[in-house]
């Protein structure tokens, strides 16, 4: 990065600090005009010049550019910007003007980086601690030695402990890599980074090690190694979390099948399509919300859940009443019929919604990630883990402790005798299949958050779902839970070593071998009851 640019930025920062009103005199109009040229080098130059100008309009203009709110007025090529809401303002004066046709000033990654730097320096002294923190982190990444004086000033003023720590780390990152800094300072900086102890700190240290004097090099070496140990432990934990997360996805996908197949014995090849229906329900709900009530967007999943359950459940009941009901006592033929159903559902969705992916957005509480103890936990995965367990427990309770569950199990074990006990088997069959399908639909809501919403969605889960249910032991809900988590974790523990493809092959081989040991799955039912 050219030094001139940096100096400009720093000047700007310094000015903002000292005398905001002073530079009013500089003429920013020609600078701003370069934005209108729509050529990246000009935009870049304009940013630098603007920052260097120290003009009060610089900050709002740069912020607007960063957030895509800076425009060229098509009529006269004047540069304007606007707040999230509110009128257009002329960049030169900040004066509000009437709405007019505009086109945005385009940015590229390089421009975004310049902006980050310019704004980052500007933000080091911002009143909002969150923005100061952000600026500190940006500085940590960019390690601009020229920012050091400003950083020191900011450090002195800082009261917030978290921000202060971030400033110290940023300072350390700059110092440790500055070849012209005194070795002792650099060693001290290395210790700060060693304390931080994450992947980024390690990266900085590694970069600093290049051509470092002996003592510093030794110091860095120990730190890097200490961090490495810590990180490899963390990696284990991280892999476990990934495994748990994959496992819960498998659980969600499979748990409905644990009812229709595990409990009812229907080889339900249309299970995946029930998941798909749930996902499309989510899409429709979000679409309706986008159109009619955008403020409800964060609640979209909450609305979609019961709807998906109902829609998929109703479709399931319709399938049961129209087809499956004719096939009791011929479990294998359900494979054929449900395969047919699945083809029809896929094509129906393709016809109605088109063959390509549909966008289902993450509500804000499911976006981004949470960093704890150096582990990155993405929110959508966390929610899905919790949700999968909740669904599992609710189902377990229904099956075990409600009279519906009891009747359901009785019907499946001996349909004729159950009828003679006064149980309306038709109704129960329909409800049970509806329950399994409804749960698949609910799973679809969750899976829409991490996967494609396309007509192929169901196909991509059907095999894994059957694996999970069978591996766990047909008819055992607990088995399904443990199997899903086991396969998920095994997969994720293998993946870093074997790669995704080989890892998956190994998991399959593991399943084959494991079933030799336990021919009726993990949680096999035992005793006469099963053999007879």
């Amino acid at each position: 990065m050219p030094l001139a640019r940096l100096l400009g930025l720093l000047a700007l920062a310094a000015l903002t600090l000292a005398a905001p009103a002073r530079a009013q005199g500089t003429d920013v109009a020609p600078i701003l005009a370069r934005f209108a040229l729509d050529r990246f080098p000009d935009t870049q130059a304009a940013i630098e010049a603007l920052a260097a100008s120290g003009h009060p309009t610089a900050q709002p203009v740069l912020e607007a550019l960063n957030e895509g709110r800076l425009f060229v007025r098509t009529g006269d090529r004047a540069i304007v910007w606007r707040d999230a809401s509110g009128p257009l303002r002329l960049a030169v004066s900040g004066e509000a003007v009437a709405d007019a046709p505009t086109r945005p000033v385009r940015v590229s990654n390089a421009i975004r980086r310049s902006l980050e730097l310019a704004l980052g320096n500007l933000s080091l002294l911002a009143p909002d601690p969150a923005r100061r923190l952000e600026a500190a982190r940006a500085l940590f990444r960019t390690r601009q030695a020229a920012s050091l004086p400003l950083l020191r000033t900011a450090l002195e003023r800082e009261r917030d402990l978290r921000v202060k720590r971030a400033f110290l780390e940023a300072q350390a990152a700059i110092v440790v890599t500055a070849t012209d800094a005194p070795e002792l300072d650099r060693i001290a900086a290395a210790t700060v980074l060693a304390d931080r102890g994450d992947r980024e700190a390690q990266g900085v240290l590694r970069a600093a090690a290049v051509g470092a004097p002996e003592r510093l090099a030794a110091e860095i070496d120990t730190s890097v190694r200490a961090i490495e140990t810590r990180l490899s432990l963390l990696a284990m934990a991280q892999n476990l979390v990934y495994g748990l997360s994959l496992g819960s996805v498998l659980l969600l996908a499979a748990v409905g099948l644990a009812i229709t197949f595990g409990v009812m014995g229907v080889i339900n090849m249309a299970h995946g399509e029930m998941v798909m229906i749930g996902a499309y329900t989510t899409f429709v709900v979000q679409e309706a919300i986008r159109l009619h009530a955008p403020h409800l967007f964060d609640a979209s999943l909450l609305i979609a859940l019961p709807l998906a359950f109902l829609v998929a459940g109703t479709v399931g009941m319709a399938i049961e009443r129209s087809v499956i009901r004719l096939l009791y006592g011929r479990p294998l033929e359900t494979l054929l019929a449900t395969w047919g159903v699945s083809l029809i559902l896929q094509q129906a969705v393709r016809t109605i919604f088109g063959p390509s992916n549909r966008e289902v957005g993450n509500p804000s509480f499911m976006s981004g990630s949470l960093d704890v103890l150096g582990l990155t936990l993405t929110w959508n995965r966390l929610w899905i883990i919790g949700f999968a367990l909740a669904v599992f427990l609710a189902l377990l309770f229904t099956l075990r402790f409600t009279s519906f569950g009891l009747r359901m199990r009785a019907v499946v074990q001996n349909r004729r005798m159950a009828a003679s006990m006064g149980i309306r088997t038709h109704w129960l069959d329909a409800l049970t299949f509806g329950l399994g399908s409804g749960i698949a639909g609910v799973a679809g809501v969750a899976l829409s958050q991490i996967d494609n919403v396309s007509p192929n969605l169901g196909q991509s889960y059907i095999i894994d779902s059957f694996m999970v249910v069978v591996f766990g032991g047909v008819g055992s809900l607990w088995g399904t839970l443990v199997a899903a988590l086991t396969l998920g974790t095994a997969n994720k523990l293998l993946e870093p070593y074997a790669g995704a493809v080989l890892g998956k092959i190994l998991v399959l081989v593991f399943i084959i071998l494991f079933i030799q040991k336990r021919p009726r799955g993990l949680f096999a039912l035992k005793g006469r009851a099963v053999e007879s």
Partner: protein, 231 residues
């Protein structure tokens, strides 16, 4: 009051019942006898609705139930102890018993105490799965399960099969008790003549899908009856 009115029953092309008529009324035990394969079980299946009749009617409580499924018949007070026990293998003993609650109003959903006094082993095995029980225990469970429903017609297909002598005696006593209570009709298939004679008010003998003898227990020609039971 149950009245089976000249029914025919087919399995595919094979005919198992020809013009069979039988009656059973509250407070009385009707016993069906006959050699293997003459159609006793088929008759019971027709009564409880497990098998459709191809001709004739089944009347219960004055209504024609011929077209109703087993669940509806159960809801009208018909309980069935099938030949071969057919307990729910993966439900626990207790759950097996509770399946009988479906026909009961909420207030009555409890297992009557006399079930356990009749079959004491069951009370010790409530948590065991039905399918794990020994043959005789399963048979006891099947009878108990029917009793939980508080039926007004109890259909028993060879209920003593595989049960130890002392409990057979108890079952005999229980049937007698139920008969004497007077509110339950009992239709029983039994091969063991002494047991049948002691319990039955009416005996009905079948051969090759037809009723060949029927009448009050005391008035039947025992020699003729035994002839029908020998090969």
């Amino acid at each position: 009051m149950l009245s089976v009115d000249t029914i025919d029953l087919h399995y595919g092309a094979a005919q198992a019942l020809r013009g069979v008529s039988v009656e059973a009324s509250a407070g009385r035990v009707t016993c069906v006898m006959g050699r293997n394969g003459v159609g006793k079980t088929s008759l019971m299946r027709a009564v409880v609705g497990h098998q459709r009749v191809s001709r004739g009617r089944v009347l219960w409580d004055g209504a024609d139930v011929t077209g109703l499924g087993p669940a509806e018949r159960a809801r009208r007070g018909i309980a069935f102890v099938p030949q071969g026990r057919e307990v729910f293998p993966l439900l626990t003993v207790e759950e097996n018993l509770r399946t009988g609650f479906s026909v009961l109003p909420r207030a009555q959903r409890s297992i009557p105490d006399d079930v356990f006094s009749l079959f004491p082993v069951l009370s010790g095995m409530l948590r065991r799965r039905g399918g794990d029980l020994s043959g005789g225990q399963q048979q006891q469970l099947a009878i108990a399960r029917a009793l939980v429903m508080r039926p007004r017609l109890l259909v028993l297909d060879e209920p003593t099969e595989g049960i130890q002598p002392s409990i057979i005696k108890d079952i005999g006593r229980a049937i007698r008790y139920l008969r004497e209570r007077g509110d339950m009709a009992i239709l029983l298939v039994e091969q063991y003549y002494d047991f049948a004679r002691e319990l039955a008010d009416t005996i009905c003998v079948m051969d090759r899908g037809e009723v060949v003898m029927a009448g009050e227990t005391g008035r039947l020609d025992e020699a003729a009856l035994r002839r029908h039971l020998t090969v």
